[in-house]
Symmetry: C2
Subunit: 155 residues, 2 copies
């Protein structure tokens, strides 16, 4: 699943797909990317993992509906502002809302991803993001003087 890597640069350190999944499994807040009105809209969300699938619980009527049957991204990062180090993982994937037509197995493993509803009811929706590509990179002051100065795009 490592393809054209938006983060790879010669002086930056790429993260393997395996390690990317470990980093995804170790966090609970990330950012969904979904194209709305032509804009690459970025929305912070809580999430869980169902294997290699990202699971996000949502409600009807939100912008998350634009993620259904669409190219989406999911991004998680951690930045140490003091030491100017960090990492970022980006999944490119396909978004799909869990629907009543889905197998019970899919539904069960989706609910099992940690997306336990606070108030169970008909107005609970789950978005699943299946990975097309997963890339990541680490940044350290040692190999990225631009970052240390706090002025450059880190890609």
């Amino acid at each position: 699943v490592i393809g054209d890597d938006v983060y790879t640069r010669s002086d930056l350190s790429a993260i393997s797909a395996e390690d990317c999944y470990l980093l995804l499994a170790g966090s609970s807040v990330g950012r969904l990317g979904v194209v709305v009105d032509g804009y690459p809209t970025i929305v912070p969300v809580n999430y869980g993992m169902d294997g290699h699938v990202v699971v996000i619980r949502t409600r009807p009527g939100t912008k998350l509906s634009h993620a259904d049957h669409a190219k989406v991204t999911f991004q998680v990062d951690e930045v140490d502002h003091r030491n100017h180090t960090g990492w970022s993982v980006l999944m490119r994937g396909f978004g799909r809302m869990l629907s009543p037509a889905d197998d019970r197995e899919v539904a069960t493993s989706t609910w099992g991803a940690g997306a336990v509803p606070w108030a169970p009811g008909a107005n609970e929706f789950w978005l699943r993001i299946s990975p097309d590509e997963l890339t990541g990179r680490r940044i350290t002051t040692a190999d990225d003087p631009d970052w240390r100065l706090g002025t450059a795009a880190y890609m």
Copy 2:
């Protein structure tokens, strides 16, 4: 510049445009959203502000080139994982690379935004994002029980 707010929900608290700009001015790391191959690609970047314009320094040949003359977004958030509170600001805007055809004034104010190059030279590029819309929201445990459980999309 407050329009259709992706973050507004009745039980969440919207941030005024003025306060959004204050939050943007107070940070130095955000995320650029740019559509690449149909995916809403999210890239962490350092940035500076030139008035209401976001300034990002970059290099040729990166995915940032897709942001030139395109609808882009810029997002900054701060999440307190311990207390489950935070805020997020999202700018929808138009991206444009600074070019030799630009006025000296525009170039000077772009460079003055804090994007001082580490190694000055011909391979330094600046991306300017002019706001079309700016929205933001705060989340607190008090008004968002979903967030407290750490399971729901926070929009």
